[in-house]
């Protein structure tokens, strides 16, 4: 990979690490609500994924994480 491209991408990431988010931390009330949690009940969701995995050919890419309150 070209060194120049790498440095450019790196700079974007450095900027990204400290950039001001477009959703301010105090605007995250909705995102912090449990109903917006992808994996609100882990025991329940891992069970239903197991039900499907055991009976269907497809597996993987089941559970998502992230979002939330972004608290510090």
């Amino acid at each position: 990979m070209c060194a120049k491209r790498l440095i450019l991408l790196g700079l974007i990431f450095i900027q990204g690490c400290s950039m001001t988010p477009w959703v301010k931390p105090y605007e995250r009330a909705h995102l912090a609500d449990p109903i917006m949690n992808f994996n609100r009940d882990p025991v329940s969701s891992s069970y239903i994924h197991h039900v499907y995995d055991a009976r269907e050919g497809a597996r993987g890419a089941g559970i998502a994480t992230g979002g939330g309150c972004g608290c510090n």
């Binding site: 060194a3 790498l6 790196g10 301010k24 009330a29 608290c71 510090n72």
Partner: protein
């Protein structure tokens, strides 16, 4: 070889520019004045508290570390208020009834202000939840602490004691 070298340069560059938020950041700027309605119904203006040390804390009922911090701030307020110190809890939620019901369940002794339009949050450029700003007796912002983890209160006590003695 060149690719690895540029990666190392990036890493070192970021190390040089990174800012650790373990400790409170020092500041030296006048605290922007504002007026907000408090839970008790009265309006409260920051400049009216000139002469007192103010700990301005931005919180929300949906923020877990904020909830953990509240009883600690309450203790801090009660311990040092006789020496000219007060905590101001600024709730940033759009729906004020959330703050009302939270405080009804777990009351505190310091004033709770309602910043439901987020004017004060943007005035103070709040980029973390919770955010604590320590303002000295002259109305100058002296320390900024972002976030809350168990053990941070030791730092709060240290800084409040310092500012109260000035």
């Amino acid at each position: 070889m060149k690719v690895y070298l540029s990666k190392i340069i990036l890493l070192l560059g970021l190390l040089a520019f990174s800012t650790a938020a373990f400790c409170a950041k020092e500041m030296n700027a006048p605290a922007p004045d504002f007026t907000l309605k408090s839970l008790s119904g009265k309006n409260l203006r920051l400049s009216e508290l000139a002469g007192q040390v103010v700990l301005l804390n931005f919180w929300a009922s949906w923020c877990a570390p904020c909830r953990e911090e509240m009883p600690i701030l309450n203790d801090l307020h009660n311990k040092y208020s006789a020496l000219g110190f007060t905590v101001l809890g600024v709730n940033v939620e759009e729906q004020t009834d959330k703050a009302v019901s939270y405080i009804a369940d777990r009351p505190v002794d310091f004033p709770i202000l309602l910043d439901n339009k987020n004017n004060v949050s943007s005035l103070y450029e709040v980029i973390a939840m919770p955010t604590t700003v320590l303002i000295d007796r002259n109305g100058t912002m002296r320390y900024l602490h972002q976030g809350y983890k168990a053990g941070d209160e030791k730092e709060y006590v240290k800084l409040v004691k310092k500012l109260v003695r000035e």
